[in-house]
Amino acid sequence: MLILRIISLLFFALALPVGMGAGLTAFLDRREKNIFFMWTAGQLLEMALFQIVAVPVILLQGRLDFLDGRAFTVVTVLFEGLSAVAAMLGTVVWIKKGRGYRPHTVEKIPKTALLWWGTAAVLLLLQLAGVFCLRFMDGDDAYYMSEAVMAQASENMYRHIPYTGMATELDTRHCLAPFPIWIAVLARVSGFHASVIGQVAVPMLLIPLTYAVYGMIGSRLFKGRKDRLPVFMVFVQLLVLWGNYSIYTAETFLMTRTRQGKAALANLIIPALFLLLYLLGERVAENRKIEKSLWLLLAATVTAACLCSTLGGFLTALLTGLFCICVLVVYRKPKFLLPACVCLLPAAIYTGLYLLLQR
């Protein structure tokens, strides 16, 4: 039974995102055609899809009879159904179009680089072991994890006070960033308790994914000097492990509050946005055409940021905006500004909706 649950979780939390990411990656440069980019892209697409599916249902529950007593099931079925279709399509597109994945030559890794890679792997394994063995007390879990546990059990989303279980009006402060509901959906499809998904499965997923994003950033920075990448990865992990210089750092959030949307925002979404902006900037600098799939990924990243935190849309829009100003000043090529603005529309929509609901 446990094995079946784990297989089911791996299918929904890993295989489907990779399938979705594969379809998008098929249209990108050969350099981006690797499993880590597929995984990252797929995860961002999947989170964006969840945001698009979940928010309308959350807002409409209690207003549409059809959703009475089954709102959470509707979100689960719609989201996983669409994810499965998108992953299938992605895989087909990858098979038909995604040539160039396999490296032409297998390069020999120098002994010192192997040593650094080994150190990086040991550090990662220690962190994953920490996920199992340690719990980090955080008061906010009383809201976020309870909301996930309640959604899984009661079909209600943001209509009860998670702290006590009392019925209440729709919680407009949190309902537009339904990251806990995403955890609850993973719990529903895998059969695990939502707290187990949040406390164990999500960190097991997001910590390696965060390092994968840092690895891809590193591979851009050390183009042609692959031996430097494992050294970079070791330093990055040291910085994360020793990043608890206050309780507010992104690194502390990654290690101690991984199951909360704001941790995913600070450690997956924002670094992934840095990577995407770097890729976009490279294309602008080299006068290359920017692939539509890259723009789609930018829009998905902004939408995924809104899933993680109500501040997510604003932060990603701010960073993208500042980046556009820098590129405009340095390269004087304004052509990319319009599509970049279009990609920021989800941030404007969700922020506008938030302000409207708070009135």
């Binding site: 546990v149 309640m150 009392m166 330093f235 990043g243 101690t256 932060l315 500042l322």
Partner: protein, 253 residues
């Protein structure tokens, strides 16, 4: 306004040593980095983010829309980890032979001394179960659960944040909000149940007002009165917590 800008920065920076290293790395990259895109992403962009963060009109605008507690999150836009990692590798790549290992070790030690190991945090404790809640919460919630129904239970302070992370079927008359002083929540039953001396008569009165099926309290309390006198009965003692149940309330059993 300056206080509202500087205080979150101080809170975020902690001892300030790693942020000082980050600023030094920024300066190093500003002088040495040749790749234009890396300069934009790792030097200009963080500089603009910092500029905006310390700009009072911008801060005033943000404070107008969001809670004061989250202004520091703007600092998440600073790529502290990749910038420091990249700078470390750049410095190392300028060394050769045995010197490289020495400099590498020195940089690693510098990071460890400037930062703080997350596993040394006082908030880290051994996980007792895969739910990552205290085992006593699991045991109590399993014991008081009634199949197909929700029950109301008043818990002691230390267990409050965990109860509903484990069981959605156990409701509480007060929750985590009571533990946050600045939220100014009050509940008389909470005060009575967490006092050193338990006044049974008052506890029963307040528990009935809030339809509590169970009242739960820890060891070492002086009990003033007897619960049995008020149609309560001892339900169980689990992991050192005493559980009384109100026999006058319907639990669906």
């Amino acid at each position: 306004m300056w206080d509202m800008i500087l205080q979150p920065f101080r809170d975020y920076a902690g001892s300030g040593m790693l942020i000082a290293l980050f600023l030094a790395a920024e300066l190093f990259l500003f002088v040495s980095e040749k790749n234009k895109m890396t300069r934009i992403v790792f030097v200009y962009l963080p500089a603009l983010v910092l500029l905006l963060y310390f700009l009072p009109p911008f801060a005033a605008l943000i404070y107008a829309f969001v809670e004061s507690e989250i202004y520091y999150r703007l600092l998440w836009l600073l790529p502290v980890t990749p910038v420091l990692g990249y700078t470390a590798v750049k410095i190392l790549s300028g060394c050769a032979g045995i010197k490289k290992w020495g400099v590498g070790a020195a940089l690693g030690i510098m990071i460890m001394l400037s930062g703080s190991l997350v596993y040394k945090s006082p908030l880290a404790v051994r996980a007792e179960n895969p739910y990552h809640v205290p085992q006593s919460v699991v045991d109590i919630c399993d014991a008081i659960r009634v199949e197909g129904r929700e029950v109301m239970a008043a818990f002691p302070m230390e267990l409050i944040p965990y109860v509903r992370q484990y069981s959605p079927y156990v409701c509480m008359p007060y929750g985590r909000e009571i533990l946050i002083e600045r939220w100014h929540f009050q509940n008389e039953l909470y005060d009575l149940l967490n006092a050193e001396v338990l006044d049974v008569e008052l506890i029963v009165e307040k528990a009935r007002e809030q339809n509590c099926h169970y009242v739960i309290f820890g060891q070492g309390k002086t009990i003033n009165g007897s619960f049995e006198d008020y149609e309560y009965e001892l339900f169980d003692v689990i992991d050192g917590y005493t559980i009384y149940t109100d026999t006058t309330l319907y639990k669906g059993l």
